[in-house]
């Protein structure tokens, strides 16, 4: 789903330093934060919102659609399972360095409760002019502005740069989808593309990929079947093989996940691939600008 203003958000780990900073920014932006979770501060008020002992407890008091996790790695699994059991429709896991087997357990719990997980290791979602959930500068109008281009990014920082470049060129975003830099993530590039395809406000999509895994290759086939233009940038052309480039998922191994493999698969599907991020606006059709 595309995050909308009417979506009600529960913030797990709301009372921590980062949880406080970003939740405050979200509320000021217009996000509907209905409360937070912090076991030791249950019953208190924080940023004017009620704090609960668990997501399951919060669900007893009020309805929410989205759970957003500001939770350290070792506690991420328990928090995610709590959010799934509480019936969250969407779970955004910002946590980096979640142990792999814990992540697999989170995904299994999500499957059972029909929860969509974004991440782990994502920067979150922004729907410019409406709402956001995560650690992204939605409030910075030079970066994010309402428009008709969907952005899907494995990286928060690079996705932010791509959004900035679009905005600098008179193109706004219908939705920014940070899917996360880990190798095993709940919502893949292809699934995010399907979501953008169904969204009427999205008229074109930018895939911001990177080396490692086969997410871009898997998405290429679907992109070819879409009626909307799709363009891409893939980071890591200048990175050495066999090394993990910061993200857990960004490694070329066993001949898989290379820049060339991704570029060839995307181009074979008719998707233009930019050499540098700044080329992206040139690859998008001109009519998008007039509509924005």
């Amino acid at each position: 789903m595309i995050l909308r203003k009417e979506h009600r958000i529960l913030v797990q780990g709301v009372t921590g330093k980062q949880g406080t900073f970003w939740t405050d920014a979200m509320i000021k932006y217009g996000a509907q934060v209905v409360g937070g979770v912090s076991p030791r501060k249950a019953g208190a008020n924080h940023l004017g919102k009620p704090v609960y002992a668990s997501a399951v407890d919060a669900a007893k008091a009020q309805h929410f659609d989205v759970a957003l996790m500001f939770i350290p790695p070792i506690m991420a699994k328990a928090a995610a399972i709590d959010a799934c059991e509480a019936g969250a429709e969407l779970l955004i896991c910002l946590t980096e360095h979640v142990p792999l087997h814990d992540a697999l357990e989170m995904h299994a719990a999500a499957k059972a409760s029909n929860t969509r997980i974004i991440g782990p290791n994502t920067a979150g979602l922004v729907t410019p002019g409406e709402t956001f959930a995560g650690i992204l500068p939605a409030f910075n109008a030079t970066v994010f502005r309402p428009g008709n281009v969907g952005v899907i990014s494995r990286s928060g920082s690079l996705g932010t740069l791509l959004s900035l470049i679009l905005s600098q060129n008179g193109l706004g975003q219908s939705a920014f989808y940070g899917i996360g830099g880990d190798s095993i993530i709940g919502t893949t590039t292809r699934e995010a593309l399907e979501i953008m395809d169904r969204d009427v406000r999205t008229e074109a999509v930018v895939i911001c990929g990177e080396i490692g895994g086969t997410a871009e290759e898997d998405a290429a086939e679907y992109a070819a079947s879409m009626g909307k233009p799709v363009v891409a940038f893939v980071a890591g052309r200048a990175s050495p093989p066999g090394k993990k480039m910061g993200h857990a998922g960004a490694i070329v191994s066993r001949g898989k996940g290379s820049y060339l493999s991704k570029r060839r698969a995307l181009e074979a599907a008719g998707i233009d691939v930019a050499d540098v991020p700044s080329d992206i606006p040139k690859l998008l059709p001109a009519y998008l600008k007039n509509a924005a």
């Binding site: 980062q18 070792i74 910002l94 980096e96 360095h97 142990p99 792999l100 087997h101 992540a103 697999l104 357990e105 299994a108 719990a109 499957k111 920067a123 650690i135 992204l136 500068p137 910075n140 970066v143 990014s153 990286s155 928060g156 920082s157 690079l158 996705g159 932010t160 740069l161 600098q168 830099g181 190798s183 095993i184 993530i185 709940g186 893949t188 911001c208 990177e210 080396i211 086969t214 997410a215 898997d218 940038f233 980071a235 890591g236 052309r237 200048a238 990175s239 050495p240 090394k243 993990k244 480039m245 910061g246 993200h247 857990a248 960004a250 066993r254 050499d275 540098v276 991020p277 700044s278």
Partner: protein, 380 residues
């Protein structure tokens, strides 16, 4: 984190899997002694956390202690894939009836553990699958219930295995899956897995990769692992929680976030330069700009420096303060170029202007071009 064969086998043996008897040695005479203890006939195997050691001549059979000594003399000191071999595993030879393949890893499409099995061992599993997809069996496991004997046995249907062997292998796959869980493995691959003449399955070679995000909770196991081969500077950075990797170019890079750092390196290459390093201070490390810069500046090949910030979680004002502080402390003479956007950009740009007298470029491309041109000019 990767493990040498001997370390991985010891862990598997503790978990009840069968491995050949053997010993780790570091000299030809110790290899001869170890061979003698095994009755003379043995395998002498180079130890390094990499595969395909056999093709490089790093794995040799020996029929006697003297032959083992000779094999050890030949292998010790070899360089395989950048690793200098200084340790050997001297192991008993196993009477092999068939070489099989088994592995457990995680499947990105289903977000589940997947067990792979094939009767074609000793070759690359991807080659087997490409030739005959049905030859590689895939069992997707529900991590909450684990793998059962029945599930494992069902997956082996149609393969050329006699009834008893099928049950032995099914049991082995369950044990292997349990080991994968106990070891917080990213990958556990047994290739080849020996089916012996008397119907046992024994791990002949194995590859174990411990999930990097599980190192903290598996400290005891991680102590047996192979640390990445790192330069002094890379190791110093790692100890301070910073991901630094030396490359061969002369344009230094400091950026936040893995994706942005890679894209910045790509842009440097695109505009005719060569990045000197990968160094990112994204995530919780965004407060470490000063430390990061102190590491970067120790690379004397750098002719210009590009600072590329696009703040999301990482606040550019905090990172800029770190850079300014490092700049004043080290007073480097190399030209520096900035491009700064995102969270905290107003304060960051103002700080860089005021304290360093430099104007960040509005576009990353312009900053990259300037840094490349300065580096190329200095090198010419």
């Amino acid at each position: 984190m990767k493990f040498e064969e001997n370390a991985a086998k010891a862990l598997l043996q503790n978990l009840g899997l069968l491995v050949p008897e053997g010993a780790v040695v570091t000299s030809p005479s110790a290899a001869a002694d170890a061979a003698a203890a095994l009755g003379g006939r043995c395998m002498v195997k180079a130890q390094a956390p990499i595969g395909k050691r056999g093709r490089a001549g790093g794995i040799r059979p020996a029929e006697s202690a003297e032959e083992a000594r000779g094999a050890a003399e030949a292998i010790l000191g070899m360089e395989i894939n950048g690793y200098r071999i200084d340790r050997l595993l001297v192991e008993q030879q196993v009477p092999i009836a068939a070489e099989l393949y088994a592995a457990v890893l995680s499947d990105a499409a289903s977000c589940r553990p997947v067990v792979l099995f094939s009767t074609m061992g000793g070759v690359d599993v991807e080659e087997t699958a490409a030739a005959d997809p049905d030859a590689v069996r895939r069992i997707l496991v529900d991590i909450r219930t684990g793998l059962t004997d029945t599930q494992a046995s069902d997956a082996l249907a149609g393969l050329d295995l006699c009834g008893q062997t099928r049950e032995v292998i099914a049991r082995f796959l369950v044990d292997l899956y349990d080991a994968y869980r106990a070891l917080d493995a990213d990958l556990l691959e047994i290739n080849p897995l020996a089916l012996t003449e008397d119907g046992q399955v024994i791990v002949l070679d194995c590859k174990y990769v411990l999930d990097d995000s599980s190192i903290n909770r598996q400290a005891e196991i991680a102590a047996q692992g192979s640390s990445d081969s790192m330069t002094t500077l890379e190791a110093a950075a790692a100890s301070m929680g910073i991901k630094y990797m030396a490359l061969e170019g002369n344009v230094g890079v400091l950026a936040n976030g893995a994706g942005l750092t890679m894209a910045t390196m790509d842009a440097i290459a695109h505009f005719g330069g060569a990045p000197a390093n990968f160094l990112e201070i994204g995530g919780e490390a965004y407060t470490k700009a000063e430390t990061a810069l102190s590491i970067l500046l120790k690379n004397h090949d750098i002719r210009s420096l590009l600072i590329s910030f696009c703040g999301a979680f990482a606040r550019t004002d905090v990172m800029a303060r770190g850079v300014v502080s490092a700049w004043k402390k080290f007073n480097p003479e190399i030209p520096v170029f900035f491009t700064v956007h995102g969270t905290g950009e107003k304060e960051a740009i103002e700080l860089i202007r005021r304290e360093l007298g430099r104007q960040p470029f509005d576009s990353m491309d312009d900053a990259v071009r300037a840094a490349v041109s300065a580096a190329n000019g200095a090198a010419a």
